[in-house]
């Protein structure tokens, strides 16, 4: 029963909240979408924390997405031992990078009076959830020695079953507690995401790459105003 709630209902609830609230907030003005950068109040420690954390977590997330989209290819790639070694070492490196970065960020938030002044309860909450998430992820790799191959072969089928709306909880029922924690915590993060500063990664400014350098906006239609006189 609890498996049903945690692995078949919770994911949909979380995704539902995330999508509806994010979209509602985005189209309702999108004021809340901000990185809420605190670099202005503390610059040096942020460098190590933020850089390690972001490069680490983004690569790890990319790995998760690739494994989800191309499980067969990932398994085929890992069939040669040196390639598996490369894959596993880089995954663990990025995971550790994210973990260390996050710990530094949490320490910075806790120890600097100025940063504490701009820390909300939600910030603390989401940082803790992220810490659990990354620690459990690295923990799975270290304790169970489970990595990309296992993810692609054992977990992706469950995740895919969620996506085709036929959740197969049998696929996760026998998983070790650490894996279950990783999953449930991920859903929690997803559900709470739109209420936290994490929304900043939904608005990656990639359009910067192709937009023109300068932006000029007219409040009125320039041709029309001529006729108004």
């Amino acid at each position: 029963m609890s498996d049903l709630i945690l692995f078949a209902i919770l994911p949909y609830v979380a995704l539902g909240i995330e999508l509806s609230v994010s979209l509602y907030r985005y189209f309702g003005g999108s004021y809340k979408f901000s990185s809420l950068s605190s670099e202005f109040l503390e610059q040096k420690e942020l460098f190590w924390g933020s850089t390690a954390w972001h490069y680490g977590i983004l690569m790890v997330l990319l790995g998760h997405v690739l494994g989800f989209l191309f499980p067969k290819e990932v398994i085929a790639f890992g069939n040669v031992s040196w390639r598996l070694l490369v894959m596993e070492t880089s995954a663990l490196t990025f995971g550790l990078m994210a973990l260390v970065g996050l710990v530094l960020l949490v320490r910075r938030r806790a120890s600097r009076a100025r940063i504490r002044a701009v820390t909300t309860k939600m910030d603390v909450f989401i940082l803790l959830l992220l810490l659990i998430q990354v620690a459990s992820g690295v923990g799975i790799a270290v304790v169970h020695r489970w990595g990309a191959m296992w993810y692609a072969s054992a977990l992706v089928p469950y995740l895919r079953s969620l996506f085709i709306l036929e959740p197969n909880i049998g696929l996760v029922a026998g998983m070790p507690p650490l894996v279950k924690l990783h999953l449930v915590n991920a859903y929690l993060i997803l559900g709470i995401l739109p209420f936290t500063r994490l929304v900043h990664f939904l608005v990656l400014p990639i359009s910067y790459i192709w937009r023109s350098w300068q932006i000029v906006i007219w409040n009125y239609d320039r041709k029309k105003i001529r006729q108004v006189k």
């Binding site: 309702g28 003005g29 999108s30 004021y31 809340k32 979408f33 901000s34 990185s35 809420l36 950068s37 605190s38 670099e39 202005f40 109040l41 503390e42 610059q43 942020l46 460098f47 933020s50 850089t51 954390w53 972001h54 490069y55 009076a113 100025r114 504490r116 002044a117 701009v118 909300t120 939600m122 910030d123 209420f195 936290t196 500063r197 900043h200 608005v203 400014p205 359009s207 910067y208 790459i209 937009r211 350098w213 300068q214 932006i215 000029v216 906006i217 007219w218 409040n219 009125y220 239609d221 320039r222 041709k223 029309k224 105003i225 001529r226 108004v228 006189k229």
Partner: protein, 493 residues
């Protein structure tokens, strides 16, 4: 020709008395809020001095503005690749201590302190943390050369001077200073805008005001370091960038921007300039010694029939063209060539112009004596205590000729007026012809400098907001709503 109109500003530094009334007017209007306490969208700094934020002119650290890069100009610090790469941590960002930590005092302690032998004191508390703090800097900490060894001596502009010239500047009998009031320049090639990854900053087509859309700003804070004048500020409370908005809500209703209206020295002027937007790239790329000239050239003559036709074709309202014809800024900048942009070498094409100060009237001392003869008093600009090189570093990318030309004009006007009012100076004609002025023009300059009433100093074009709004909104429905401001509570999550 792509004619656009820009509401431009002129500061006549010869008249600035450094009273900071402008800064206070601005503060009361816009930045008296949590997260914005430290911001001075308008500030007045003493030069030589390090300014606000500390050494803002040092682009080696802050990397603001543009540099010439082959056949183009490119952003010095940010840019599409570097900006995104550094988005997790911006190495060039000025931080709170480069401005100052905002503070208040525990005034209540003065009243509640128990009776004792000593006077009670009000301790300083940080407006960020709420904790007691030791004040290390504050607004205008180096006002009037206060703490010179720490501040005035570290002015980046002094790098152009020889050691001897620098030492001269700081001898007590020779001390010299000037005031430099600064607001956002509402540039034609704004580097804050170009470095914003979200595209939240934009320039308004009708009047050229550069604004940050608070709903689109995501706090990537590239604009703060990208602006070479450090006139975009990061609100540490809301997590958004903010900047001078040229009091557009006032301008749109025909009122004068607060800093300008309140200016005690009456140094401020405002009016429309028409310019050719097709030339922006070319001018931004001009050689350093041609920058000022090229910038002046792209400003168009509002009386020229061709310009008027092109402006109309481009949607510039007739009333705006007419306003441009009465613009005091046009006269100073283009007709009389007396006003210069601040640090044109940053290549953002600032649209706030300065008439440099002709100061002090008494030149350098020689053998411990000032030469107070009429001739010396009114003719020499070379002997002015503030080296021309220094002014050149501020207003002409190091081009001393440009400064000399302007100062000589100002001097010629003085000589001319001295002749008219006192009559004891004779070299008038020479002084005027040397700089290409006629007595009539000299009188015009004198009039606009010293006598012009409010309506001549501020020529504000109608904004036509009524008409603009009617095109996009049901005005009768929205009647009674607040016109602008936050549509959502400016709070964190």
């Amino acid at each position: 020709m792509n004619v656009r109109s820009q509401i431009s500003i002129l500061f006549h530094l010869d008249k600035c008395i450094g009273c900071h009334t402008c800064s206070i007017a601005c503060k009361n209007h816009w930045t008296d809020r949590k997260g914005a306490e430290y911001m001075w969208w308008n500030n007045v700094e003493t030069k030589p001095g390090t300014g606000y934020p500390h050494r803002w002119e040092n682009q080696e650290d802050y990397k603001g503005g543009w540099t010439k890069d082959g056949s183009k100009v490119s952003l010095k610090g940010s840019g599409k690749f570097r900006g995104l790469k550094n988005i997790f941590h911006n190495p060039n960002l000025p931080v709170i201590d480069d401005y100052y930590e905002p503070f208040t005092y525990k005034y209540e302690d003065l009243f509640t302190a128990p009776e004792c032998d000593d006077q009670p004191i009000a301790k300083a508390v940080s407006l960020i943390t709420g904790k007691e703090m030791e004040i290390k800097a504050g607004p205008n900490w180096d006002d009037d050369l206060g703490g010179s060894p720490l501040y005035a001596r570290k002015d980046p502009n002094l790098e152009r001077l020889t050691q001897q010239e620098q030492d001269d500047l700081f001898q007590v009998e020779r001390l010299v200073m000037m005031y430099l009031p600064r607001i956002c320049n509402h540039c034609l090639n704004p580097s804050c805008l170009a470095s914003c990854p979200s595209g939240a900053i934009y320039k308004r087509g009708e009047d050229g005001v550069v604004l940050v859309n608070q709903e689109k700003c995501r706090g990537w804070r590239m604009c703060v370091s990208g602006c070479p004048y450090k006139k975009v500020f990061y609100n540490w409370n809301t997590g958004k960038s903010e900047k001078c908005l040229l009091c557009y809500p006032r301008i749109e209703s025909g009122q004068i921007p607060a800093c300008m209206h309140s200016c005690v020295g009456r140094i401020r002027y405002l009016g429309v300039l028409l310019y050719d937007a097709d030339q922006i790239e070319k001018v931004a790329h001009a050689d350093e010694d041609k920058l000022v000239e090229a910038h002046r050239e792209m400003i168009l003559d509002p009386f020229d029939a061709k310009v008027i036709a092109a402006a109309r074709a481009n949607g510039v309202h007739d009333s705006v063209i007419e306003s441009a014809q009465h613009s005091p800024v046009y006269k100073f900048v283009k007709e009389w060539k007396m006003a210069l942009p601040l640090h044109p070498e940053y290549r953002t094409l600032p649209m706030l112009f300065y008439v440099p100060p002709l100061l002090p009237i008494l030149g350098k001392m020689e053998q411990d004596l000032y030469d107070t003869s009429d001739e010396a008093y009114f003719t020499t600009i070379e002997k002015s205590r503030l080296p021309i090189k220094y002014l050149a570093s501020l207003f002409s990318a190091g081009n001393e000729g440009t400064i000399r030309e302007v100062l000589k004009k100002m001097m010629a006007v003085r000589i001319h007026r001295r002749k008219e009012t006192v009559g004891d100076i004779n070299a008038v004609e020479k002084a005027l012809t040397e700089v290409g002025l006629t007595p009539k023009i000299a009188d015009d300059i004198y009039r606009l400098t010293a006598l012009a009433p409010l309506e001549e100093r501020f020529v504000i074009p109608p904004a036509h907001r009524e008409e603009a709004i009617e095109m996009t909104k049901m005005v009768l429905v929205e009647q009674g709503d607040t016109g602008f401001g936050f549509t959502e509570q400016p709070s964190r999550m």
